[in-house]
């Protein structure tokens, strides 16, 4: 029997799973779309991971991170639930202990993490605007009729990227339509978009932050060669993109699950468990809290959202 540790990173767009062994080597990994249903996505993720996994590996720790971390943590009986900033930092410093800057662009959010000796010293996360995130890029790819996977390659072909006003998604979109209507070639527009994502990121999330080498770029958007190119160009520095750059959060939380091992064995067989949440608005006072009740196998297990703590 070998011990394994599962890390699940449930993002808005994609769900990532990684299983590590006791030496923290990656045994299995998987990247699937969340499709707006984290419960279903995680069920599928675990089912497929289980099929891939050697039979003698038993799971002794599960960690969850990402925007659905709390819910999924309950569902899979996680021994650790952590925010994505910490998870990303832990994952990255495992492979690059001397990293100074982590640039991360995901589906709905983007963040910057500054480190010193593997310790986070500063971080920031986008607040209001989704311009310069994966969701924005994929919606624009759709508009231009380009597969998101080809987006980066097309951008590299451009010799003359157009300038796109990237302050906010709405402005960027109308500017992009304008550029398309006046007849710019597709690859120039795409390259311009990639460039605008980088500029928007540096002007918003990276504002006032000292970006020092070594720099690592990760998250789903790091798979886009165009964005990587413009990061290198604008920062005038080498930007490392790991082959597992899209899995760093999941790796980080798996590492944390390992270090917080509690000796309890866990199962990947959750496909048959019914897990649902029911939301309602409480009418006991004028706060109108949104109460979420969570049921596992039709029995109530937890509720969230009550401000007064008296309602469940």
């Amino acid at each position: 029997m070998r011990k394994g540790y599962l890390g699940i990173d449930i993002g808005s767009i994609s769900t990532k799973g990684v299983i590590l062994d006791e030496e923290n080597n990656i045994l299995e990994s998987l990247y699937i779309w969340t499709e707006g249903n984290p419960i279903k996505a995680v069920k599928r993720l675990l089912k497929e991971l289980k099929e891939q996994l050697d039979e003698d590996v038993e799971i002794y720790g599960i960690g969850t991170t990402g925007s659905a971390r709390k819910l999924i943590g309950l569902m899979v009986d996680a021994n650790i639930v952590k925010n994505e900033i910490t998870a990303h930092a832990v994952g990255t410093t495992h492979f690059y202990p001397n990293v100074k800057t982590i640039l991360e662009i995901g589906g709905q959010d983007s963040k910057i993490i500054l480190l010193n000796d593997s310790i986070i010293t500063d971080y920031a996360m986008n607040t209001l605007c989704a311009a310069g995130t994966g969701a924005f890029l994929s919606s624009q790819a759709k508009r231009l009729g380009v597969e998101i996977n080809d987006f980066g390659m097309l951008a590299l072909k451009s010799r003359n990227p157009v300038k796109i006003a990237a302050r906010c998604t709405v402005f960027a979109e109308s500017d992009l339509i304008h550029k398309a209507q006046v007849g710019y070639p597709k690859e120039d527009i795409i390259a311009g978009l990639c460039r605008s994502v980088v500029l928007n990121y540096l002007n918003n999330v990276g504002k006032g932050k000292k970006i020092e080498k070594p720099i690592i770029f990760q998250g789903g958007v790091s798979k886009n060669e165009g964005v990587v190119k413009y990061f290198r160009e604008i920062l005038n520095a080498d930007v490392i993109v790991d082959s597992n750059s899209h899995l760093m959060g999941a790796i980080g939380i798996a590492l944390l699950a390992h270090s917080h091992e509690d000796g309890k064995k866990r199962t990947l067989n959750i496909a048959d468990i019914s897990f649902e949440t029911k939301g309602r608005e409480c009418d006991k006072c004028s706060n109108h809290c949104e109460i979420l009740r969570i049921y596992k196998d039709h029995t109530f297990i937890e509720s969230w959202g009550s401000k007064c703590g008296k309602i469940s």
Partner: protein
């Protein structure tokens, strides 16, 4: 009964626990009915937002919301006060908005153009209640001042220790009891006695506080700092993470200590600023430095969105914290803030502080 009808019913904006001393003062010096503002709920802010200009800062929306709720409950005399920044013009604008909505009321602003004129306030009180007696007014004003001082003092102790209570809820339960008894006093001796009694009781509450706890200082715009609803119960959240919290801003500071303290802050931060920057901006820069020198683990700066003085202070606070290598995080709150986003950032801040401790 007839007299009761003639006199108007008074309400005032809500902020933290301060409705208690405000009600104490008004109900003792005036014969009017006092409509104590209710605790802020999501309805308050919805109401306030609906009738406020979109880009006005959030405290305007909160206070307008509480005044509206007061009017709904039958108030026809509204008391507002303010100064320092845009806040100084709240009263006039709110009065106009409420008048335009068709409410019939009298509006009294304690602070006009940044000045509190004692004579003007005396006439104001006489107008609200012709039987207003000035000596009685001063007497209760002094008790109220003392009450606020004691409340703020106890709060200071609570913030430092509530994260470590053994029995959950014991601090807040005792505080509620204390405030209830405070509001019943009628002489300074009794108040002092109660304060001593409760201070002792608070110290007797069992806590499990290690020596090396994480310490965080909260600074920022005054209303957001003082009204827990408007900062999404930040202090409660920090307490649940077992963090010792220090906060400077309270009503006693603003009314009675600020004018002295600010000179000291300006002197201490000569390297960074020369002049005051409106509201509490300069104070917060001074406090940031103080927290850095006192070796706090981190600083949380909070403000309502569009708060101009604090926006100007933020880059300077960043610089101060950078110079002393103390992490700082900034939060802006308004009626559209996502609570989940705050939690994620706060959790990450906590993790970061813990990691830095290991350095």
């Amino acid at each position: 009964m007839k007299k009761e009808k003639k006199l108007g019913s008074i309400t005032f904006p809500q902020m933290g626990d301060y409705a208690i001393p405000a009600n104490f003062l008004l109900s003792h010096i005036l014969h009017n009915k006092i409509i104590v503002p209710k605790k802020i709920t999501s309805r308050t802010i919805e109401l306030g937002t609906k009738y406020s200009p979109e880009f006005v800062c959030t405290p305007f929306k909160y206070t307008l919301g509480t005044l509206l709720e007061g009017l709904e409950n039958g108030a026809n005399i509204l008391i507002q006060a303010g100064g320092g920044c845009r806040y100084g013009y709240y009263a006039e604008l709110q009065e106009q908005i409420l008048k335009d909505l068709g409410y019939d009321f009298k509006f009294y602003n304690l602070v006009v153009a940044g000045h509190t004129d004692v004579k003007r306030i005396y006439h104001m009180m006489k107008e609200i209640d012709p039987k207003f007696h000035v000596l009685k007014g001063i007497y209760y004003l002094l008790i109220t001042k003392q009450m606020i001082k004691y409340m703020d003092d106890i709060d200071h102790y609570i913030r430092g220790n509530i994260g470590f209570e053994v029995e959950k809820g014991s601090f807040l339960k005792l505080k509620e009891e204390m405030l209830k008894n405070f509001s019943k006093v009628n002489n300074p001796l009794k108040l002092h006695y109660l304060y001593r009694k409760y201070k002792k009781k608070f110290k007797e509450i069992k806590i499990n506080k290690p020596n090396d706890v994480l310490k965080i200082g909260i600074i920022g715009e005054l209303y957001t700092v003082m009204e827990p609803y408007s900062n999404y119960e930040l202090e409660k959240e920090l307490a649940s993470m077992h963090i010792e919290v220090k906060r400077f801003t309270n009503v006693y500071y603003l009314l009675f200590e600020k004018h002295k303290k600010i000179k000291q802050y300006l002197k201490n931060t000569k390297k960074y600023i020369t002049y005051q920057m409106g509201a509490d901006a300069a104070d917060n820069i001074g406090r940031a430095k103080e927290l850095c020198l006192d070796r706090y683990d981190g600083i949380i700066h909070i403000k309502s969105s569009f708060c101009t003085p604090e926006i100007s202070a933020m880059p300077i606070i960043s610089k101060v914290c950078n110079d002393y290598h103390v992490p700082v995080i900034f939060f802006s709150f308004d009626s559209n803030t996502s609570e989940v986003g705050i939690k994620t950032r706060l959790e990450a801040f906590y993790d970061m502080l813990l990691m830095r401790r290991k350095l």
